[in-house]
């Protein structure tokens, strides 16, 4: 009884004090009244009419919501739903920014990622138990000019990448500031930045926080310091997190980043104090992507209206030809004519029905596909070298599809495949097989499924695999056609890593946290085509290996069994058989039957070469064949 009344008074108090919308406040007092019919203490609220709110009162409560406030409440949208994922997201955002900056400035990236356990007391807990981490990411990029440091790191939706159509890792201008905001929220610590633009310039040190109400940076500290690096940026975040190895961990992110970015030199210091060095295996920066104008097929009516309003062109034809890609003056004339609008009309005056006609005319006109020099694919040889370097296998292949377009955005799909356990595993397996097998034991006891690694603009995607177009395309590919087992609705089975990368000026993620690619038909189709090509090559490799193997076996079977049969016959005959002669007779027949020299030829080296398999590497215990990138070959 006592607790119930207490709860009720508390509720009353809160409903009076809070600025909650009226509906729940109105409903709140009713249920206790119903369950406690004649509670003696305060006045039963059931008698009182529910408080009504006037439009004026409601209007007074309406106010702006700042993006920062919105994302503070909805941090899961940005990938901060749990401590483990939050740690990964923070590292990812910082590394993405570092790599983008380096590449844009034409510098081969050299990145150091450092995770330190922050101890509440004197003795730091082991990394797996720790709840607070300091993340430090240092790059050798171009640095940031002093004035831009605070807004870049402490203002949401501020950046250079959102408004332009050009391929980059980041695209929204949320990431790093959201990471900072998360740190600020969970530990109260500001983001620390050191940046230096050249050896001649001083290094600047900043401590910034975000004013969540205004979405503006608040500078806590700024000074010039001495910094050993001649150029670059260092970001330090202190956040609440959890370090756990395995799937979707920081370690996995780092490894997958290296596979898709073999041009990066990365040093990773784990919270356990271990230093992992990933050397650069591809000495070439990816071609710098160009910025493009939007393609007319890719915009919606609202966007067109906005562009009409904002343009600096004086005529409609000029606007169309000037503000869009692939619209020549001739095409512009054609569109305008089809829309029934004057080509000399001022863009600002085109609205309403005219704008709608214009929009329809654009969709109906045949316009060339957008230019693709805005894209920078990883390239087949770089993918090969990344896979070859990071994953042990017997067979590698990579496919880059020609550019394609979805909703007016150009994109490229690249796929790669690493198959097998590598020659070392084969050798150790062979050694293990020397032990006779007992009943019930077998050689191939494992049924592991393929691992799919997904990338968008070179960034590994670690969460939400089932929502992603890539996973769906892998599941939808009939791997059995290529000699790979696959149960219904499951990933293909086998020691295999499937790599898929989508490069685009605008990757259609399913959410702001950039975890999965939306399943557009055009994208799905391209992924499928790339996977099929990989599958075909793998199938060819497997068939060739199997053929050589079975010829070998065929020959072997008879040779092995002849011994057994002759020995048994000899024992049956009481040991009085001319065994050598019998063996010889049988062996001659075996050789005649299995084709003798022809089998030798098939079993030989010419059976396994990668001829006919472009962009593939085959690894055998005898050596490596195929298009091994120069850098890797030199190292090996």
């Amino acid at each position: 009884m006592a607790s119930k009344t207490a709860a009720r008074t508390a509720k009353k108090k809160s409903s009076a004090a809070s600025k909650r919308p009226p509906a729940p406040a109105k409903r709140a007092p009713a249920p206790p009244a119903a369950t406690v019919p004649d509670a003696a203490p305060p006045k039963p609220p059931v008698a009182k009419p529910a408080p009504t709110v006037t439009a004026v009162e409601m209007g007074a409560r309406q106010r702006d919501i700042s993006v920062s406030e919105f994302f503070t409440k909805n941090r899961h949208l940005l990938g901060f739903d749990n401590p483990r994922k939050a740690l990964l997201t923070c590292v990812k955002e910082a590394v993405d920014n570092a790599l983008d900056a380096c590449e844009e400035a034409g510098i081969l990236p050299d990145v150091v990622v450092r995770l330190d356990v922050v101890a509440p007391g004197d003795t730091p807990p082991p990394a797996s138990q720790a709840t607070r981490f300091r993340i430090t990411v240092t790059d050798n990029g171009p640095g940031i000019v002093r004035q831009q440091i605070p807004p870049i790191f402490a203002k949401l939706l501020y950046g250079s990448k959102f408004h332009r159509l050009r391929q980059s890792r980041g695209q929204q201008g949320i990431g790093i500031s959201a990471a900072g905001m998360y740190g600020q929220l969970t530990t109260g610590k500001p983001v620390q930045i050191i940046s230096r633009t050249s050896a001649r310039a001083p290094a600047h040190y900043f401590e910034v926080q975000i004013d969540t109400k205004k979405n503006e940076p608040r500078i806590l500290e700024k000074k010039q310091i001495t910094w050993e690096a001649p150029r670059g940026t260092q970001v330090t975040l202190e956040v609440e997190g959890r370090y756990q190895k395995g799937r979707a961990s920081v370690d996995e992110y780092v490894e997958q980043t290296i596979i898709a970015n073999p041009h990066v030199k990365l040093t990773y210091v784990t919270p356990e104090g271990e230093t992992k060095e990933f050397a650069r295996t591809f000495e070439q920066l990816p071609a710098a992507p160009r910025e493009i104008k939007p393609h007319p097929y890719g915009i919606e009516l609202g966007m067109l209206l906005k562009m009409l309003h904002d343009t600096t062109s004086h005529t409609l034809a000029g606007f169309l030809a000037g503000d869009f890609s692939r619209v020549s003056p001739a095409v512009a004339e054609e569109i305008v004519k089809a829309a029934g609008v004057s080509s000399r009309a001022r863009p600002r005056d085109v609205h309403g029905a005219a704008a709608e006609n214009l929009y329809k005319a654009i969709q109906a006109t045949k316009i060339m596909a957008p230019p693709t020099n805005c894209l920078s694919p990883i390239g087949e040889s770089a993918i090969l070298s990344g896979l070859y370097q990071q994953i042990k296998g017997d067979f590698y292949t990579a496919v880059s599809r020609p550019p394609a377009v979805y909703r007016g955005n150009p994109f490229i799909i690249e796929a790669g495949l690493a198959y097998g356990r590598g020659p070392e595993a084969a050798e150790s397996g062979a050694a293990k097989k020397e032990i006779p097998l007992a009943e019930g034991e077998s050689d191939d006891a494992d049924h592991e499924l393929a691992r799919v690694i997904r990338y968008a603009n070179r960034v590994p995607l670690l969460y939400q695999p089932s929502a992603c177009a890539i996973t769906r395309a892998v599941l939808g590919t009939t791997w059995r056609n290529y000699g790979i087992a696959q149960s219904r609705g499951a990933l293909p089975a086998g020691p295999m890593v499937i790599f898929v990368h989508m490069a685009s000026v605008w990757v259609p993620f399913t959410s702001e946290s950039k975890e999965a690619i939306a399943d557009y038909d055009e994208i799905h189709k391209e992924i499928n085509l790339a996977l099929r090509e990989c599958g075909r090559r793998l199938g060819a490799f497997l068939r060739r290996r199997e053929r050589a193997h079975s010829e070998f076996r065929r020959r072997n079977i008879f040779e092995l069994y002849i011994e057994e049969v002759v020995e048994s016959c000899n024992r049956l005959k009481g040991g009085r058989l001319p065994t050598a002669r019998l063996k010889d007779q049988l062996q001659k027949m075996a050789q005649k039957l299995t084709g003798g020299a022809r089998t030798d030829e098939l079993m030989g080296r010419n059976g396994g070469g990668p001829e006919g398999l472009p962009h593939s590497i085959i690894v055998t215990p005898d050596g490596v064949e195929g298009a091994v990138p120069a850098g890797v070959a030199a190292k090996a």
């Binding site: 097989k433 020397e434 032990i435 006779p436 097998l437 009943e439 019930g440 065929r554 072997n556 079977i557 008879f558 092995l560 069994y561 011994e563 057994e564 049969v565 002759v566 048994s568 016959c569 000899n570 024992r571 049956l572 005959k573 009481g574 058989l577 019998l582 007779q585 049988l586 027949m589 075996a590 039957l593």
Partner: protein, 367 residues
């Protein structure tokens, strides 16, 4: 040098013949090939006059220089070798021991000659049929799975066994009961009752049914093993005792009865030594629930497998007699099967005191 002083037995000579096949073929540059009679329904016929299932003439060939058969050929020779070894040493052994004896890793490889016993068992049957030697003659025995009590005196390895003085446990029937190993000294029984289930045999043995009705009680704990079938056959033949079979009322029970009576499809060639064409089916018949007032609720619903098996039985020529067709169809139309144990529903001793006495009195059995 014991091998030289001993003359090889007939079976051993047959086994050595396998080695000769290999040697002769090699000399003539031919693929060594064994011909093995096919052991399947398609290669058996029912000899109505003799009341036996007989094996047909179809044979399959097993050649060495054929990738698909090479291993089995090699294994067959290995098994033949092991069987010849048994003959020379005059030992008997089990199927499982043959498997272990012949299992080894082939030289210069990681491949075993056999990976599991189910690879070697059918090869022994292959040799039985192709060499026309009984398993007992090959010195391969099964488990002692079967018991006997009754007015019967046997001699086993020089020991006299009086099956009337072995309590309710009885004498465990060995797998090989050929006259060389087991002699029937005296038998005063009037008939043989072969019970499918050990539990019901226990019931009858405990109630001393055999004393009251002067019979030999035999069980094989399920599908009767060769020793039990052969002992029943010898009692039938040597002492002219009628044999009655008591099984569960389900398709598997019918088949058990038919194996005792006509022989099995798999080892049809042995029918002439194992089968008892005059054996009678005493129960449980699908007519019994009605005539003995068994309530419907002690029945068990036939499952899909049961129904399929029953349909197969309907098609076998040895079940084509009208009473049998009626018997099986009656079970199918009722949709129920009954276990012997279900008789306990009426009384624990119902089987001993009511059911069997009435059956015997009314001569209510199927042929």
């Amino acid at each position: 040098m014991a091998t030289k002083t001993r003359r090889p037995t007939v079976v051993e000579k047959k086994l050595i013949g396998i080695a000769d096949v290999v040697v002769d073929a090699a000399q003539r540059r031919r693929d060594p090939t064994l011909a093995i009679p096919v052991r399947a329904l398609s290669n058996v016929t029912f000899n109505e006059r003799r009341g036996l299932i007989e094996m047909g003439k179809r044979k399959q060939t097993r050649s060495f220089f054929n990738v698909a058969m090479a291993k089995r050929f090699m294994q067959t020779v290995l098994v033949a070798d092991a069987l010849a070894e048994l003959q020379r040493a005059n030992l008997t052994t089990s199927l499982r021991e043959i498997y272990y004896r012949t299992k080894h890793t082939i030289k210069n490889s990681h491949e075993n000659t056999f990976d599991a016993q189910d690879e070697s068992d059918p090869l022994i049957e292959d040799l039985e049929v192709s060499l026309e030697a009984l398993r007992e003659e090959l010195h391969v025995r099964a488990e002692n799975r079967g018991s006997v009590v009754g007015p019967l005196v046997l001699a086993d390895d020089g020991d006299t066994v009086n099956c009337a003085r072995l309590g309710k446990g009885g004498y465990s029937v060995p797998s090989i009961v050929e006259p060389e190993y087991l002699q029937i000294r005296r038998c005063t029984a009037d008939f043989v009752l072969l019970v499918e289930k050990g539990t019901q045999w226990n019931r009858l043995s405990e109630d001393k049914f055999w004393r009251r009705y002067n019979c030999v009680l035999l069980t094989g704990n399920g599908q009767p093993p060769r020793g039990v079938r052969r002992l029943a056959r010898r009692l039938h033949e040597e002492h002219s005792l009628p044999v009655y079979v008591l099984v569960d009322n389900d398709p598997w029970g019918y088949y058990t009865y038919s194996v005792v009576k006509q022989g099995s499809i798999n080892l049809a060639f042995e029918s002439q030594r194992m089968a008892i064409p005059k054996a009678k089916f005493i129960g449980l018949s699908s007519a019994d629930p009605e005539s003995y007032g068994l309530p419907r609720n002690v029945g068990i619903k036939l499952n899909d497998k049961d129904i399929a098996r029953a349909r197969e039985l309907l098609a076998y020529t040895w079940f084509s007699k009208k009473p049998w067709q009626e018997e099986i169809k009656r079970m199918l139309s009722s949709g129920l099967k009954y276990e012997l144990d279900a008789l306990a529903n009426k009384d624990f001793q119902y089987l001993t005191k009511r059911y069997l006495p009435r059956k015997l009195k009314e001569k209510d059995w199927l042929d």
